[in-house]
Assembly symmetry: C2
DNA sequence: TGATTTCTTGTACGATAGTACAAATCACAT
DNA sequence: ATGTGATTTGTACTATCGTACAAGAAATCA
């Protein structure tokens, strides 16, 4: 019934390898890289510790493979959505579509893996916070192109805003995005149960709406000090 | 010449203890909790590993003491600034003052410690990402009051926005704030050197401006689906 | 000064970390 | 069926982890 693949070249035993990857992804994203041992991962995947070494050589190699697995598909999807967004005529709608094109793939599946999008984005957030070397290199290589593309697209929608301001605001967007995935419980807590911080759809809508407004804010006047500053000065 | 304090009760040998605290703060904030060993801290502080055990008993105890050291002063300062902000008459200016009252103490010194504000906030960001247990407890206990106070104040300035939306947006604010301290280099990189992500003043101004606009965004229509959604759908 | 408390040092112990490797097992083409 | 390469297992090695503790040095008080 099912056509078995050629076996040569391709490793047709995705069971363990995939299970290890999934377990590592989950554990790294939840507890950080250093807090998780190879043995923890193996146990969660129902595998032997030696199996991890066999498939990925080192713990760093395992992390590297996780990134390799997700970066391509997620960025591909972002570029697809960005291309579609750029075709939106109405400027306000276009900006919203661009932001959405950036946000959505981070929450939903970036590839064919089920629900892996949010998990992987959370992993990136944690690795970023920990200053992980392996992650830093890949991020700078793989995501800066994407970021520049989005920044340029946003800049085209808002020509009167200096590029510097747009960079700052897109940086804030990524921070908000990360934090929403890292600590969803805080939203539920602070809203006293009225909002569900873990609900991806709500998070996306809230984030898109807020971010679009932030991008549209008047530019910072770099030259003129302008407009009296609100009080807030020395204590008492 | 210098009047020595009473010696009783107060430990008048802040040298080592303070050095260890400062070193731990810096290392934890940079590399995360688990990546830093007690020996690393001792070496950075010019102390003996046993000295850390003597002063703080455990590694968790050391982290706990760092939080104890900063939480009080930072929240105190926030409440002072919040009280001042609430007295601002103009609604737009008041909102900006409130946001500023939240942001400024996170960047500048939260206590008498030199430049400790940003470092401690960065530490909180990293601990949050790592899901650290010790940090989580303190955060929920110490900062939720502050957060609620700010959310309420913002809600008073923007009565037409549902509280839920304000919670989300203040959550985004904290995420953006954290991320700005965690990865300042990214801003410099993406702006091609035009902006300095490490400059606290710029970060504050950009963050305040963007966040005020985000708070002022129209509320999400929870009932009506409303307003056609921008295209962005299936692939190709 | 001598007694006593406070801090620092050096060292050690058990636990666990990442990784290596030989033996056992499995999948499959012939 | 059988041999061959791919995978899994079990175990071991070394390094480093957090912490404990006794002995030494410094500071403080009578």
């Amino acid at each position: 019934m099912v056509r078995k693949p050629t076996s040569k070249e391709t490793a047709r035993k995705p069971n363990m390898r995939e299970a290890i990857l999934a377990a590592a992804e989950e554990l790294f994203a939840t507890n950080g890289f250093n807090a998780v041992s190879v043995r923890d991962i193996a146990q969660a995947a129902g595998a032997n510790p030696g199996s991890v070494t066999y498939h990925f050589k080192t713990k760093d190699g395992l992390l590297l493979e996780i990134y390799r697995r997700h970066c391509g598909p997620m960025n591909l999807r972002r570029f697809e959505l960005l291309a579609a967004a750029k075709r939106v005529r109405d400027l306000q709608d276009r900006l919203e579509a661009i932001v959405r094109a950036y946000v959505v793939p981070a929450f939903t599946s970036g590839s064919d893996l089920a629900g892996g999008g949010a998990r992987f984005t959370r992993l990136r957030a944690v690795m970023s916070a920990e200053g992980n070397e392996v992650a830093r290199k890949i991020i700078a290589q793989t995501f800066d192109d994407t970021s520049h593309a989005f920044i340029d697209a946003i800049h085209e929608s808002l020509p009167h805003i200096p590029r510097t301001d747009i960079v700052w605001r897109s940086h804030f967007l990524l921070g908000a995005l990360y934090y929403s995935l890292v600590t969803p419980g805080r939203v539920s807590r602070l809203s006293r149960g009225e909002a569900d911080g873990g609900d991806a759809a709500s998070a996306i809508e809230q984030l898109v709406q807020a971010t679009v407004a932030a991008f549209q804010a008047p530019p910072l006047d770099h030259a003129a000090p302008a407009r009296r500053r609100p009080v807030v000065g020395s204590k008492t």
